[in-house]
């Protein structure tokens, strides 16, 4: 039998690259004493980034991340993850179950945190292609050809609606915090310009976040990890709203509100 060393070495031992809590000595994250160096000094999003990515970002980047989280979670139960929160409330689940369920729902290829993986992958590849000589128009043409003439670029052409009202306030904040446009964001705008003129489509918040955070040096997986809980507050809000009303009164369904399309009644053989 070969190579059980990998597991034998780990038996009964925890090796951490993160930190830990040692009774009487304190709690540590990536070398920082959490209680002595971070509480009251770092913002929650600085701490979150430190825990998740292992680097303590400057305050303005943490503030930017916090702001975009505000953009990405609204208390409207028509949004799928929020509706799960509302259903949990009407079914009298706990607030933690409701919120966790909604957060889990947003681990979706359609919305929430996971599309950032594709959004970042696209803009980072696009920049490499651009640096190799492709223009924004050529990049758009290539992507549109892949999908038989349709704009299916993650980060552009938002589902349900065209345009994205979340970008202008984030642009203002980006400027106010003193961030320059890096190469990813510059290219993202050039791509948007092509899409706007040729297809009447625009960048969405995913595209903006993907390009901005790529300019900050993050990769796709790091950004996905940072946004794990992005829909949390809207889910909890929708949960509370239905919890405080009578049970099962959130969008109640009569039997015939379900369109049964299966076989007619039959006997079990």
């Amino acid at each position: 039998m070969k190579n059980r060393e990998t597991w034998d070495r780990q038996r009964g031992v925890i090796r951490s690259r993160k930190g830990g809590w040692f009774a009487g000595k304190g709690a540590f994250s990536h070398g920082y004493s959490i209680l002595e160096e971070l509480v009251g000094e770092a913002s929650y999003f600085q701490m979150l980034t430190l825990n998740v990515l292992g680097v303590l970002p400057e305050r303005r980047l943490a503030d930017w991340l916090e702001a975009v989280h505000i953009c990405l979670s609204w208390p409207d139960p028509r949004i799928w993850c929020n509706q799960i929160g509302a259903l949990a409330g009407t079914a009298r689940a706990s607030v933690v179950a409701a919120t966790s369920a909604g957060v889990l729902a947003a681990d979706s290829t359609m919305y929430g945190s996971r599309p950032l993986l594709d959004g970042v992958a696209f803009i980072q590849q696009a920049l490499r292609d651009h640096q190799d000589g492709l223009s924004a128009a050529e990049i758009v043409q290539r992507e549109v050809q892949k999908h038989r003439g349709k704009v299916r670029i993650t980060g552009y052409a938002r589902p349900l609606a065209s345009g994205d009202e979340r970008i202008p306030p984030m642009e203002q904040l980006t400027t106010r915090l003193g961030f320059e446009h890096g190469p990813h964001l510059t290219l993202a705008y050039a791509i948007e310009e092509v899409l706007r003129l040729d297809y009447k489509e625009s960048m969405n918040i995913n595209g903006y976040v993907s390009a901005f955070l790529s300019d900050q040096g993050f990769n796709a997986e790091q950004i996905y990890r940072l946004f794990a809980m992005v829909v949390m507050s809207g889910v909890t809000a929708c949960y509370v709203d239905t919890l405080e009303r009578p049970a099962e009164t959130f969008l109640p369904l009569r039997c015939d509100d379900i369109d049964y399309q299966g076989p007619p009644p039959r006997d079990v053989p």
């Binding site: 951490s16 690259r17 933690v96 349900l160 399309q261």
Partner: protein, 276 residues
Amino acid sequence: MTEPTDQHRVERRADRFTERAATRIWHEEPAADNPYLAVAARCHGYELSQLMQRCSFPQVLFLLFRGELPDVRQTQLLERLMIGLINPGPRHPATRAAMNAGVGKTDASHVLPIALMVLGGGHLGAAEVEPSMRFLRKAVDRPPQQVAVELMAQYEELPGDPDRHLVAGFGRRFGSADVLAAGIADELIAIAGVGSVLAWGRDFAAQLREHQMGWLATGVAAAAFCDLGFMPRAAAGLFQLLCAPGLLAHGVELANKPVTALPWISDDDYVIEDEK
């Protein structure tokens, strides 16, 4: 309030949403005096009380997903599979998550969802089953030996990741072929005429033996799901469902015990490395 510029002006797209959710699975018959209250339920046309009287649980589970009742072999295969997968065992990370939740006095209704989320992983978990089904459905028409040779030629031994799977559902566990998973597969294959994908998987696993590889539990589930005609999209959830009883049982077993009933790693055995 910020005024959106022209390119950010928001207009709803012309998506047409359905007025009612549709299902082919379940019909609820309303009470004459209360349209919200069901007086009868039918699964693909069969009345629930008749199913309760005349069918086994595996038959009705099959009916839910396939739309028809299974034949004798399909019933036997699903029932054996359900028993084979009923417990990933107390060392599987998902079971240990349930045990942690139990001993940690987590709300009882959360124990199973917690464990199932961990069981959703891509290593010996639900996320491996669908890719395994897709692999098997493609590979089953080719000689197992040829597929094994091709995959082994591409396989790179990584010292830092010795259990990296050869392909979804097949590989090593703790450096060796998983004997228990192979035993579960054999019990399924022993049902006469049970299906071509399980048989192909057995022959494929045999080709991997010299590399200390073979069936993994996820591959066994995937092959059985193929032979049962389940859709790959259902595979992750079905695997979670079939493993759920054991996860819950282990969680509940710890729930009434003191927090000291699971080991606590001492500070001496807690090593911080490369922290910055």
